[in-house]
Symmetry: C2
Subunit: 460 residues, 2 copies
């Protein structure tokens, strides 16, 4: 059954990735969908501000597959990255595969391209109407009423919905309206680090200047650069660093000194002039993490994607989690025949804890990317994980694989990792105990040689 | 120096306890103060909604003392409570003193009375003007501009300030405006429990029906009642319980069955009819905890009191912490000669972590009040604490005393408690080790008796 008995009027606030994907799923079930997006149509404008490149993995792919978009996105556009490429300060490289067993990859895609594909797909459904330059300025969530400002004509219009979807991103007006209602928990946390976008151009013969099979990382402890390949043979580069560090880079010379000390190979690839130009054209942007609970109001309002759980970008799960939200919502619409009075509470019940878990993991992964990947202990653990994964693939799945290459619930991914850590600790304890026993035996033997032998000799 | 060189225009949003106290401190330094309060003047209306009674202790008293109000509040109105009175299910009572060494008390005061005293005090300064029924509807915090709605005339007015003080409580509009600015961290957390206000009337001869020297607690594990004495010989009672529990009390009979099972003595004191009437006249209210950081915007805006750090009421530190905020602010105005570009960042730097600490402690204390106080382990710890406090009062100060009877920074109160716990654990370890050694010796002796004696006997 793809079309349900109930046909609802759904208003989706936000026409970004999650909003336009959700529109496809609602329309497939025969619901009437209006998307209100406060920015202009991305298909008609050239530039839409900076943003970190996306890395698509299983959760996101499965959602795209369900609306017939996986192939066009992954095969025609996505660039497979099979692992991290670590750039050391001395210029040496070290490859760390994401999945040394099944050779799974994550796929670099550009946000703009993906958004265009999704808007085009949504628009193909007769049930969907798209409205751009429309900013929600007020919302009565209990009654499903929205007040909307046309940002060009400055005219106010009203909309009425059976269901409002807040897919309006980290700074969601729908979430802010929910926050005024009792018993809605939420937190917004900015990390002390900001980010800035740079670019590695394509080579003279329009070729990639580094391997395009990798997510490149320059881990430097407190800060890092990363680079993801684009399908025009360029790389989108992001510098992540404490604002305190960024604030000190006041002049082009400050910037060049800093980059030449920590990222000499990258300076060569970008070029000094372009580096300075790109850096000072932009402002460093902050990184926010959002948690809230519940995600719904009655049977009338639901948050999806960044509006519900914006996260720092270090596990590349922001979009994937948002897409999986939509998959889960669709599964629940199927189960409850689009009865939103049942769908919405169930969605909150199932999803909040998992989304909080991936927000925490994303926070943790920043430390891994900028610091731990340089350390021997990390590489040893990675080696042991791969070794065990190869031998007992159903029992021992490394954390990274559960996140990127499975749909294991995020809370279970963490529990699985904690179990592995415990096994590891117990094994180390046992090994240490064995060593201690052997040491004891050796000591006893030397004691025996020292005392017993002369005694033995005495009796001989 | 009480009057500074700089005279600023200060707008205080909120004329509650903290707002009106802050007005006194600003006026004392010669600043011009306007208070905008969205409710009517509490001095002109009879009832102002329900709210838990207040317990005043050292932090709050010191702030009142600095504006000459300690005596009138504590001596003329406050009711000294020297400890908790635990009401067991079988009707038996158990007194637990707050301070078995110095006999320090906390003082029950009514919010309404205290607010009236503070507004009267503020109004005495020629620098202060009070504006009621004025709701802030928009704020430009960088420029110190406010848009204010007169809730009676529905007219809009504008205000301009050098400094905006957000003392507008847990649902602060000023904090919500700050939350839209980058790099402002905040969280709002509702606990799963709600509260409801009831009353124990005075006796036939206008006397207290229970001891008025105590904060009465009916701890029942997952829920509890508390009662604080009022100066008209009544008690204000609060039921704290999970909403799930409260939702089940649908009819008068449900309520009576529940209360007669868990609070039989209290049912007698309140009276069945009054209990039912009071309970069903009101809606259970939620309990919110707010954390945010920083507390300021540039040199123009600062949050104080609940607007900055609303907490659950279980450590009775909401008002006391808010009053101590004002003390700290005044100390910083003195130090920096009211240069708010220095005062405000320093306030955030010093205060955020301490306020977060007391928010956490308040959360913890709910478990202590409704559950732990019934347990032997709690009473033993309390006994040991008092024993050591008596002998080494400068070294061993119990947590409760550091919170209520000192101005130790809240983070240090927690560190102090953690140190005590560590000492406790280590002592227990040592005692256990001694016991083990003695056990070993005893075992050796019995071994000796078993083997050696016969041998000895053999040689005899």
């Amino acid at each position: 059954m793809t079309v349900t008995d109930r046909k609802s009027r759904v208003v989706i606030v936000g026409g970004g990735l999650v909003g336009s994907l959700a529109a496809c799923f609602f329309a497939k079930r025969g619901h009437y969908v209006s998307i209100y997006e406060y920015r202009p149509d991305i298909r008609t404008v050239d530039c839409w501000g900076q943003s970190i490149d996306l890395a698509l993995s299983v959760r996101g792919r499965e959602a795209l597959r369900a609306v017939g978009l996986e192939e066009v996105v992954v095969d025609h556009h996505g660039i497979a990255m099979r692992g991290r490429m670590i750039h050391n300060k001395n210029g040496s490289l070290k490859e760390i595969l994401y999945d040394g067993v099944n050779q799974n990859c994550i796929y670099s895609v550009t946000r703009r391209y993906l958004n265009i594909v999704l808007l085009n797909a949504a628009e193909k459904y007769s049930e969907v109407s798209l409205h751009f330059n429309k900013k929600v300025v007020d919302a009565d969530l209990d009654d499903g009423k929205l007040t909307i400002l046309d940002t060009r004509t400055r005219k106010i219009e009203k909309a009425k919905a059976d269901l409002i979807i807040g897919a309006d991103g980290a700074y969601s007006i729908i979430r802010r309206t929910m926050a005024k209602k009792p018993r809605f928990n939420c937190s917004q946390t900015y990390i002390e680090h900001g980010y800035l976008e740079l670019f590695v151009p394509s080579g003279k013969n329009n070729e990639f200047m580094m391997s395009n099979k990798h997510l490149h990382i320059w881990p430097r402890g407190e800060f890092m650069m990363i680079a993801l390949p684009n399908d025009n043979c360029t790389f989108t580069v992001n510098l992540f660093a404490p604002f305190l560090t960024l604030d000190k880079l006041k002049t082009p010379q400050d910037l060049l000194n800093f980059c030449e000390e920590y990222f000499p190979d990258l300076v060569e690839l970008i070029g000094r002039q372009k580096l300075v130009k790109d850096y000072f054209e932009r402002e460093p942007k902050p990184l926010i993490s959002i948690k809230c609970k519940p995600y719904h109001v009655g049977k009338t309002t639901l948050l999806l994607g960044d509006a519900a759980h914006a996260m720092v970008p270090f596990y590349a799960q922001g979009m994937n989690t948002g897409f999986e939200d939509v998959l889960l919502l669709d599964e629940l619409m199927e189960r409850y025949n689009s009865d939103f009075s049942k769908v919405l509470p169930k969605f909150s019940e199932l999803r909040c804890e998992d989304a909080h878990a991936i927000c925490d993991l994303a926070m943790y992964n920043y430390v891994e990317m900028r610091d731990l990947v340089r350390k021997k202990s990390f590489l040893v653990r990675k080696y042991i994980d791969t070794f065990l994964y190869k031998r007992i693939p159903k029992t021992w799945i490394p954390l990274y694989s559960t996140i990127h290459f499975s749909r294991m619930r995020f809370r279970d991914c963490i529990a699985n990792k904690q179990w592995q850590d415990k096994v590891g600790r117990n094994t180390m304890k046992k090994i240490n105990n064995r060593i201690r026993i052997i040491q004891n035996v050796l000591e006893q033997l030397s004691f025996y040689r020292y005392y017993a032998e002369p005694l033995g000799a005495r009796y001989s």
